[in-house]
């Protein structure tokens, strides 16, 4: 069930730009304008529409969107009052794109400040060239996207074997065919209907033999970056919980995967590289929250982690802030132990997920300390090395998952 306003009575579209939102009245006009300009400039021969898929925002997002002057017609879709979640919005978009018979759908975040018309071109064009899923490639500050860098990217890469650098980037392109596949999936968990939707879309595409490409956006993603120690929020639990859920469901696929492969790349030749704005992180707070985790979760960690991993973690606990280091291989093994515990469910999934947060703070603290003197390029090399460590941990995952240790 949803609310719909379709003032131009649009009944068919080749190409859709969807903008999911909740309380984005202040920011949604800009991506809406850029989407319209991109659709007119690069896809003038296609029937296009811009759809705001909203959660019935009380701040006037609907008015801000519908009152934005655009050459391309617009549709406003909303979940019913009281129903929230980005995933619910995107599911409404899947349904609408199937109803309209769209060949290609692009999704962009409502809080984007750096989107240009070319983003629409680069996310949509590969979809008319046989690709089914397009993920964005953009330069991000080395401290931005810590869930991506420390969990979502290395885990999806090592588990499913595809190197999608921004698997929860929030900006995607997908084909009409893939929208139908998405709609047919039966795993719309409470996490997927919220912020788990991005990683769910990426991994579902990986597991369904969908041709994937990554497209260079040309400008950094500028939105509302947050200090992970200050405002982790439910997003962490929803994203990581969805990764663990999908691992349980797609084991027949990923157990056969060895190492990883690059994807096709699209959209080079966009001129000078623009640097992203800085992101501030309070390292002491991350360290303190990691240490505080032992008081609350030590017994549970002892039950979840294998003996050797727990021993290594206990060693990390003894390190002071000045020489703090949380090794990558330990982090990879911790995530594996948590994924297995989540699958087995012996300790209660909610408790397992909550107890992972202080460990994530510890790993993030160490990661930021390591990256401090580095350029963005050097930081990317660290992330690449980290991915190799995760890929090398795959035999450990298989042994633990199938309980052959």
């Amino acid at each position: 069930m949803h609310i719909e306003e379709n003032p131009n009575d649009i009944r068919a579209a080749d190409l859709i730009v969807g903008i999911p939102s909740y309380n984005e009245a202040k920011l949604i006009s800009y991506p809406t304008q850029m989407a319209s300009e991109g659709l007119i400039k690069y896809f003038g021969n296609k029937n296009s529409v811009i759809i705001n898929c909203d959660n019935n925002s009380p701040d006037g997002t609907r008015d801000a969107f519908m009152n934005t002057p655009t050459e391309v017609p617009k549709i406003y879709l909303s979940t019913p009052p009281g129903v929230k979640g980005k995933g619910n919005n995107v599911r409404n978009l899947f349904k609408k794109s199937c109803d309209l018979g769209a060949q290609a759908v692009v999704v962009v975040d409502a809080d984007l400040k750096s989107i240009t018309p070319r983003w629409i071109k680069n996310l949509a064009e590969p979809l008319f060239e046989d690709f089914g899923f397009v993920a964005p490639l953009y330069i991000r500050h080395k401290y931005d996207g810590t869930i991506t860098n420390n969990i979502a990217y290395p885990m999806t890469r090592s588990i499913y074997g595809r190197r999608v650098r921004q698997p929860i980037g929030g900006d995607f392109g997908f084909s009409g065919e893939l929208a139908e596949i998405y709609l047919k999936q039966g795993d719309w968990t409470p996490a997927v209907v919220e912020f788990g939707i991005d990683i769910w879309m990426t991994t579902t595409a990986m597991c369904h033999d969908i041709p994937i490409c990554q497209s260079y956006m040309g400008r950094p993603k500028i939105h509302k970056p947050k200090d992970p120690g200050e405002s982790l929020g439910p997003m962490f639990l929803q994203v990581v919980g969805t990764i663990f859920d999908i691992m349980t469901k797609k084991v027949a696929f990923w157990k056969e995967v060895r190492w990883s492969k690059p994807t096709a790349i699209f959209g080079f030749g966009l001129g000078e590289m623009e640097m992203p704005p800085p992101v501030d992180i309070n390292l002491e707070r991350l360290y303190d929250k990691f240490q505080a985790g032992f008081a609350s979760h030590d017994a549970l960690w002892k039950g979840i982690l294998s003996t050797n991993v727990y021993k290594k973690l206990s060693e990390v606990k003894t390190l002071g802030f000045a020489d703090f280091e949380f090794p990558t291989n330990l982090w990879a093994e911790i995530l594996i132990d948590f994924a297995v515990a989540y699958k087995n469910g012996a300790h209660g999934r909610e408790g397992i997920m909550e107890s992972l947060i202080p460990l994530y703070y510890g790993r993030t603290c160490s990661f930021v300390i390591e990256l401090e003197p580095m350029t963005i390029q050097q930081a990317e090399e660290v992330i690449e090395d980290q991915c190799i460590v995760f890929e090398r941990s795959k035999p450990y995952l298989l042994r633990k998952w199938f309980d052959t240790e």
């Binding site: 490639l137 056969e256 995967v257 060895r258 190492w259 790349i265 090399e381």
Partner: protein, 126 residues
């Protein structure tokens, strides 16, 4: 026997890498130029390509784009004396990036990983 194509404009590198990789049991073909590379790949059908970046007449990153357009699934290892090209986003279309060294252990390791790499049902359309 797995076939490896080495694309490098330095004779010494082609000879050194060729001998070492043949000792490892690979069937090695080499070329000193990017001219006609796509045709060579078509005729030789290598299982893996080792590609230099900074060559006198060609940029390996552009050659990589050409290879990817025609042969998406052939593993490509970029092998350069310079690490700075890692910062070029074009390099992520390669399977691996190795900085040239007299010690070939990293290159051999990456060759093994690239050849072992496996994804079930990977789309032939890519």
């Amino acid at each position: 026997m797995k076939k490896i194509l080495i694309v490098d404009d330095e004779d010494v590198i082609r000879m050194l890498y060729g001998e070492e990789l043949e000792d490892e049991g690979y069937n090695v073909t080499t070329t000193g130029t990017g001219h006609g590379l796509i045709g060579l790949v078509e005729s030789e059908k290598p299982d893996l390509i080792i590609l230099d970046i900074k060559m006198a007449e060609h940029n390996g990153l552009d050659l990589l784009q050409d290879i990817r357009k025609e042969f998406y699934n052939i593993p490509v290892i970029l092998c350069s004396a310079y690490s700075s090209y890692k910062g070029d986003l074009k390099s992520i279309a390669a399977d691996y990036y190795v900085v040239k060294s007299a010690d070939l252990s990293e290159l051999k390791q990456k060759i093994k990983m690239a050849l072992e790499g496996h994804i079930p049902f990977q789309s032939t359309r890519e």
